[in-house]
Symmetry: D2
């Protein structure tokens, strides 16, 4: 294995910063693999790029992302720009022979996502999507419990994702309420629960969706109000490929919810409950316990839930949201090294996108839709 | 007002015992209204009836429920027999000029429920259903908060009811898995969340249902296995009459859940969360709090949430499930006295039944159904 | 066994009502034992007594408690008057050959408590104190877990009891802030945790106490302020007879706490956590669980935690505070019938009082005191 | 301000790794201040040092920590070696004109801590201790709430710190059970709660301590058992300089507790509850809420609780334990730049050590001790 690997980063918003933090920390946390060299950073202007490169520790910067992709020192390209740019940049990077770490969702149009998956396949390079929630050691542990049959055969799943950043009815109308931005909560949120379903259970077979607008219109800066075109709420009945039934609910106008991704998994021998707002806790109920002492166990994340141990040697001290991105960077490096890795690649990501679009079509048709 | 009121009780299973406890306690708890005289108790055999009458404190007993209804000392009849008997007994009691307190659901067939509602209307007597969860002082307080606009205009509701008494796949097949017993979780459970929706928000306009069987078959005592005919799981997308969207999920095979009725209400200024398993707690999030201190408040039931004060003068000491039935008895006595009362009468109960049947039809038709 | 037993009740405040509710319900709940006949009720005036007798269902009433004690129809006397009257009434009742159910604490002076214990011993009658918290089926289950060694050998105990009825510094000065009322939180609260320690672990060997006044003075109705003479806060280091170390904290000025009695028990193989504010939940951590799945289990009260089953046949539906008094009444009837019963009798109650007084002496002497 | 600052790190155990992670990330997280240059790493052997330097990103490495201190490129020295080495290294670094970031506790002997504080004072350099828990944005917010008087005047504080790494009675005897290692839980844990008390309330005036050994002896690898010489449990009654009463409990044999630091603060207008095991949540009860809606609010950490915003722009997504060290590094850089900083310097750290030693003396003397 090479001792180092060259990193390019396009975009320096929140996710760009997250990638930068991950690239800065992954070697110190895990100790193995190549040391990332922070080679090149691109932003919309050369000035902004230079400033951020100084903060994030990148050696070079540019206002032209194509220069970054052309940089022979760059081995991996982090794409963290707005969704509309993902396809063009990711495909260009793959065609230039780079590995790609692209933020989700893949693209705003399904056809673009298909092109991305095709480009990834053609390139032979590693191309993954930034589904960080699957990297939580406790989500990994849920997967292990399911494999071990700790709760028996799963027959029912409920998952909710709720935040409140669109909950204020008097917040000004902005692009997220325009139809051009997509369906609404469905594309903003649904991909995350779907990524969890994907790694834990596999694909979704069919869906029945209902979307709703909590607020008919929102105020304009210039006065007056404009009708809202997107749906801040979506609820979906579904069946998994494995036959289990389920419900998915997403709401970006849910006052009080800040980062809730609540999962309930029911099996023939127990159940598992998880909420991202308490990402270091897992609830497990199992019928193997003595009857009078059965109850949900609150399991705190600990070194025996890898790779928590790479961060902290003591249990119950808590990982943070940004730590998930460090794990993701490590999994990407594993994939690049040809080792088994827990990632959602472009092919798998395309299935998630396909499911989201099927959900939207179900709402329009008011009917069940096969994914 | 008369000083006393004569009580007849038919049935002495769990709900019969609950009614007996309520009739024994209501005067001591509330102090007002007539003192219930426990006049007559009916069971399937005279011996059983006599034994229970001794335990429950009834003066007379009978193996013939028609004798109880004919008893001129009886003013109110508690009907707590299996659902299949409700219609016949309730209608007979009403026709005999008695008030009726009938356990839910009304009947196994919708036509029977219609006949009950008609009989109640014709009788001019008070006829109510035993929807006890609506009597929780905290549910009443949620209603008050909604009326006051504390969380603004409600736009989304989620409600779940889950228990695990059918969760063991190796439990013997019994009548609850036979189609003759009804749809399954839908009639066992859905009426309870619907009673909450009814008192808090009004009616349900349309529904889209998916029902599921967690286990295809169950073992028979005599060996072999028999296919399960009912659905232990049901999930429903809905719209309320007031336009809010919602999801209802019920599951009687949900390992780990014992008495969960989880309600999430989202409004334009806040949200409310409640779970019957912690029936003395209410979660309120309101945007009127200072931004940096916003968070769900865990409000403990207290004397300022009437009628908690009639039970305990100190806050946070906790009511129990059986206490709800005492409150219900008191509301019934209020209704009989012609005062405003928080009850679900036969006419309102019929609307709940109508909704349940619409839900089942939606599943069969795989389509939205107007209630 | 006689079919019925005659009940006399002195006092109709909160605890009087609780006793009345318990006497009205115990037979219907448990089914066994004699039926209580509500014979005689005494209050400070004949009018008040008559009114309450009507509400509570007592046949006779009196303004003279000695008349009640002289009533040959009365077999058991419930004493629920202010603490200062306990000794005189309980001793008179015992001397009249009645069983006694006296509210805690025993008396305001230790010498009175000693006389009560002596009278109980001399009488040969059953004389118990109203320590209701020990009657929670989950507290009983904790005892069973300890006996079974589920958490190994207990080596440390922490217990807190907190409410906020004295937390407002601007609430008017009243008798609870006068030295004549006792020490403060120590006698108001400490007896309850001590009753739990008593039934779960046995006696307290030695104590080291610090008491504190959160507010130096309080306003008088007539204007001005008066220095507070009692201690709303007390903290005690202790060692149990069995050698385990512990801490007891009580605070009646603890804003936000309504009925908190929080117990933490640490053993060599696990730990148990309980809070009376969630009286239907028990937390158990045991090292017998697989390491990666160890965590506190939230065990909900259920029929397999007797006598929950006598109230509700379904798990997780919840008992209430008043239900504990019904269980207590049943235990008293068991004791009267000569059966094993879970009660704190006057002799045991005296040990609890002795411990409280030792705690107070420790504060004065600023030194460890042997109980 | 200089653009960069040179970092030396001595020790690469858990805390060494934490420092390395913080130095790698602080610039990218905060954007301001000098960029840390990872100059020199020291370990007990040159080989180990070289390996860790590669992982952590340090340019040079050495098996001789004095070489690191002599390195003119090093501006700040992180001291993360075992406690016994702190004094010698920190003093040498200060005398060499370096700033020092030393892990807590200061030293094993109080005299050493005094020498460290003197050296810091003499040097004119910044010398701080690694009390990371005070850096939690929510602890900072508690401080702000206290300053604003949100809960009025504080009159009572309880704090517990519990873990279970010594809870297994059959774990082999090791150095932590030897008297030479210190008192036990008191020095392992008490400094952390004291750091919180220090930043929130100021100093401790007097203490009354009881220490306990949950296990009298532990097995030896070579067979047999050896008496335990240290105290895994300590409980302390105390009074703060400001007059408030309090209790501190620490237990390193507390099965089930993993990283609990539970704080309860009671004031005249409300209360605050916090537990490090849920480090992204804060409980606030305030009497300014409408009476019927008062309850503990669960406030999730969010961008309006700085410097959470430097990590994540969305609320409720959660910081981790390691993030606190990044904040600490930033505060250290602020202090070095001469700006106000939230740190515990050697002078303040000495007061914490003084308090711990007073606690131990109180146990020996079985008496209150003035700090």
């Amino acid at each position: 294995m090479k001792d180092t690997i060259g990193i390019g980063l396009i975009g320096t918003g929140y996710m760009g910063k997250c990638h930068a933090l991950a690239w800065n920390s992954v070697k110190a946390v895990f100790g193995d693999g190549p040391r990332p060299r922070l080679v090149h950073l691109a932003e919309v202007s050369a000035d902004l790029a230079a400033g951020r490169a100084g903060e994030f520790g990148f050696a070079r910067s540019t206002g032209d992302w194509r220069a970054l992709i052309a940089d022979p020192q760059v081995d991996v390209v982090s794409v963290t720009t707005p969704n509309a740019f993902h396809a063009e940049m990711a495909i260009a990077a793959l065609e230039a022979g780079k590995h790609v770490w692209c933020e989700k969702p893949m693209a705003t149009a399904f056809a673009d996502a298909e092109r991305m998956a095709a480009a990834a396949k053609a390139s032979g390079k590693v191309a993954i999507l930034g589904y960080n929630y699957i990297q939580n050691p406790l989500i990994r542990h849920i997967g292990k419990l399911l494999e071990q049959g700790t709760i028996g055969t799963v027959n029912h799943v409920r998952v909710e994702m709720d935040e409140d950043f669109m909950a204020d009815p008097e917040a000004l109308f902005y692009w997220k309420s325009e139809a051009s931005s997509g369906y609404g909560a469905l594309d903003d949120f649904a991909v995350h629960p779907l990524s969890l379903l994907h790694v834990l259970f596999g694909g979704v077979a069919r869906v029945m969706t209902h979307m709703a607008k909590p607020y008919a219109d929102r105020p304009l800066r210039e006065g007056g109000r404009r009708p809202v075109e997107t749906y801040d709420i979506a609820n979906v009945l579904f069946e998994l490929d494995n036959g289990a039934s389920g419900v998915l609910s997403v709401n970006r106008s849910a006052w009080g919810r800040k980062g809730r991704i609540a999962l309930q998994v029911f099996g023939s021998k127990g159940s598992i409950v998880y909420d991202q707002e308490r990402m270091n806790e897992l609830q497990l109920y199992t019928t193997s316990d003595n009857a009078t002492e059965q109850g949900y166990r609150t399991i705190l994340s600990a070194p025996h839930h890898p790779p928590y141990d790479r961060f902290i040697p003591a249990p119950g001290h808590g990982l943070g949201f940004n730590d998930l991105k460090i794990i993701e960077a490590h999994e990407l490096l594993q994939a690049i090294a040809g080792r088994p890795a827990r990632v959602i690649d472009f092919a798998q990501g395309l299935e998630i996108e396909r499911t989201v679009h099927a959900m939207a079509r179900s709402h329009e048709e008011r009917a069940w839709v096969e994914v």
